[in-house]
Amino acid sequence: MKVVLQNITKIFASRNKKVKDEVIAVNDFNLEIPDGKLVCLLGPSGCGKSTTLYMISGLQEPSSGKIFFGDDDVTKLSPENRGIGLVFQNYALYPHMTVQQNILFPLQNLKGENKLSKEEMLTRASEAAKLVQIEEYMDRKPSELSGGQQQRVAIARALVKMPRVLLLDEPLSNLDARLRLQTREEIRRIQRRTQITTIFVTHDQEEAMSISDYIVIMKLGVIMQTGKPQWVYDDPANLFVAKFLGAPPINVFTGKVENGKLYIGEECVLDVDGVEDQEVYVGIRPEGFILDKNGKLSTTLTGIDVMGRDISVVSTCESSLNPVVRSIISADEMGNIAGGSSGSSVDHTASADGAEQEKANEDVTVKFNLKPHKVLIFNKETEQRVYFGDQLAAHEQMIAEMEAEGQGYVTHNGPLPREADDVDKKATAPAPKKNIFVRAIDGIKGLFSKKKETAVSADGKAETTENAPPAVDEAPVEPTAENIEQTAAVVEAMAPSPESAANEPAAATDAAPEVQSAPEAEPQSAPEDEQAATVAEGEPVAVEEPVAAEEKPAKAPSKKPAAKKTTTAKKPATTAKKTTTTAKKSTTAKKTTATAAKKPAATAKKSTGTTAKKTTTTAKKPATAKKSTATTKKSTAAKTDKKD
């Protein structure tokens, strides 16, 4: 059964009746879900994905727009007449009934000609139970089952009446990491077997990527992009999508395009044909780096994580928006880093031995070349993708492929909804499209108030939004929740123990909503001030790097050259300090700092972190190298970069 959503909008009235504000949970949502496919609605918490699901189920009514199942308009149909099965986030199994009674319950509701005999019901129930492999628990109560089993009972209950559409609302979020992996395979298997059109809501990008035929990425009620998981990963339409997909996350740099060349900082890293000169964000997937001693992008090495199959080179770069640049290199190339100075792309100048190691690791520069198809450029103003070279051709080919399969390509054009709106939920989220009544009311308001020109009122709320586009040109990069989220994700991922490595995706995603949900008002204005201050001091680098900008004024001016080597350990700390407003958040931030700080402490014993020279994170490097390259340890030639 094909599911079509046409211009669906959902507006929730404000809880406070005096304030005539409202929340647009879903904004002009257009989507076509082909028959028999598994589609994921993916997005951060509060992006309207569950609301969309509930509107498809009929439990919530859209404020405007239409929903079609096949050719039937079901917009006004009550849930029971839509022929859907819904699995709730916490399953909603009736606690007083046994598993069998739970599964039978929907069948017993059937009336008239659909009414089944007792035997038929039992057969259907046992078939459904067999499908999800819970036959042996039929006589148990839900409280006597494990989370995964309960989840399967919930699916069986949804499937037993043979729904036209199966809806799953974050069904895996209550399961532990291992069970989650197992269950999502299960869901995939069941969906393949039954061929029921399935819509799955999740905030876990890994989960979405692994099981769905198509994913729909949402932000603040707006579709950002639809498509096959791999395609969306390879070819994101905007910066948000690029950042949201991928673990470890994409490395984002500020840069510019001049004369068909892409610059990150001062370095020309890539030829980009057919792109106009502009300020850009450069996103580079971790796998998009090639170690090369003549590489065009140079970064400061902070550590190397060995993960068996491949290794991850962690370094810092001033233009990077992420606290660290993480590149994943095949383990075969590892020799290139540690072995012999001749072929090494890492610029060593002294032998790494004993106590000298600590000195030696300063300013080790790693150089990379970039794989063009892993480099994604985004316009700095709109954060929309800028295609270069043969990327555009590939993009168009994929759109054609999608349309051939009957899945329309949807993406969000125009300015992106900003985090600023996210922060103040009451603000009328993404401005451009509004309910006609709301617009009318706004218009009337405008007649009476002369403050219409001021797009932002005193309390920071976007007002009279019809002609005021979302403030895209504030600070180029705010240390918003999103950045911190990334920090958290990266630092979590850095934790060297195998245990945490296994939990990595879970930990990263767990941390994310926590950070994002924290109400935040300060950082928007703060970085601007800081930047202004630094610009006045004549620090050109700092303009593009707010994290650095924040840190610099904190240090004494005499340490200016040293301050250039911003360390991972300090960055999150500073970011956290500036942006932390709530207690909850500060704990998250502390955790990330702690993880970052713990590592060097374990590897390099005496890192006197007081001076900028002996930065704690760089201190880690030789120790790791020693461990990982036991055979070539003696021959490791580490040179100190004598820049200072």
Binding site: L59, S78, H96, N109
Partner: protein
């Protein structure tokens, strides 16, 4: 450890003393004394002071059990319990569900339903008496005045019913049911608020997703109520029923409020009035017949105990915790 604890034990006892003394004087001793008095044949407080002695035996129990007045009281009490507890529980459940499903006047309705709980039961009983009354008149003459209920009946062309005032000419057993009806209405109405409160609290604790799930499965309202709401509320319902029975067996003030000291219409006597168990105990005490009063109290205790045990046994089978 053990040494210090024994050393300081007197302190512990000292701290416990006020509570122990109060409990001893007002709870433990009365219970023991009740048992003692019930086992002394024909025990009488005044006679005891005069120096009379009483024989040990079960005569009190035998007297009570064979006394016609007591049989009447026991019958009344059992009848009231059996009728009022199920009615009030069901009504309370329906009202609670209804209150829970409306948003807009819930607060006001809650207050209205809760009012009887905070009002003096004797006072309300007298109001009931006034509402149902029919003062004056006789079998042949039309009554001089009637209460509001009889006025309503008359307005619809009915004959006034002798709700609370008996015929002057003598006892008419058919009027017993009219008397009982008033009592039942009063007790049900008086018992509702507490039950509604408990059930509403339970309802608000029920996860709304069960209803969403039921809705998606196309469950009818009645089935949702019967298969989901009632089982999920069963712990509350069990609690309400058990306390309802206990309260029902102790019914007394309502009868006094409505029928006055005679515990029934004027023409009735101890065999035919609306007296209850507690009323009987009270009357016995008034007559300085503490032995029989104690025996009746113990019988009442035994009945309540047995009924509660039955309740608990049933709820163990039917209640889903």
């Amino acid at each position: 450890m053990a040494k210090t604890s024994t050393k300081n034990q007197w302190k512990a006892w000292l701290y416990l003393l006020p509570t122990l003394v109060l409990l001893g004087v007002f709870t433990v001793w009365p219970i023991i004394n009740t048992v003692r008095m019930s086992l002394l044949e024909g025990y009488n407080g005044l006679a005891m002071i005069r120096g009379e002695t009483f024989e040990f035996g079960f005569a009190n129990f035998v007297d009570v059990a064979t006394y016609a007045g007591f049989i009447n009281c026991l019958g009344n009490t059992l009848l009231l319990c059996v009728i009022t507890v199920p009615i009030s529980t069901m009504l309370a459940l329906l009202i609670a569900v209804a209150l829970n499903s409306i948003k807009f006047i819930r607060k006001g309705m809650q207050t209205i339903f809760f009012l009887p709980y905070v009002t003096n039961s004797i006072a309300i009983g007298m109001v009931f008496m006034a509402m149902f009354s029919m003062v004056g008149g006789s079998a042949t003459n039309a009554p001089d005045s009637v209460g509001i209920i009889n006025n309503i009946i008359k307005a619809f062309g009915g004959k006034p019913i002798n709700w609370v005032n008996g015929k002057i000419s003598g006892y008419d057993p058919s009027e017993r049911w009219a008397n009982m009806a008033v009592l039942i209405i009063y007790i049900v109405w008086n018992a509702l608020p507490f039950k509604i409160l408990v059930l509403l609290g339970g309802l608000q604790g029920v996860n709304k997703q069960y209803y969403d799930a039921a809705k998606i499965d196309g469950t009818s309202r009645f089935r949702t109520f019967w298969r989901i709401t009632v089982p999920l509320l069963s712990p509350m319902i069990a609690y309400v029923v058990i306390t309802g029975f206990i309260g029902g067996f102790k019914e007394y003030s309502s009868v006094v409020g409505i029928f006055g000291n005679n515990m029934g219409p004027a023409h009735t006597n101890f065999r035919t009035n609306m007296n209850t168990m507690v009323g009987y105990i009270y009357d016995s005490l008034k007559d300085n017949n503490q032995g029989q009063a104690s025996a009746a109290a113990l019988i009442l205790f035994a009945i309540i105990f047995v009924v509660t045990m039955i309740n608990l046994y049933v709820s163990k089978k039917k209640v889903h915790y």
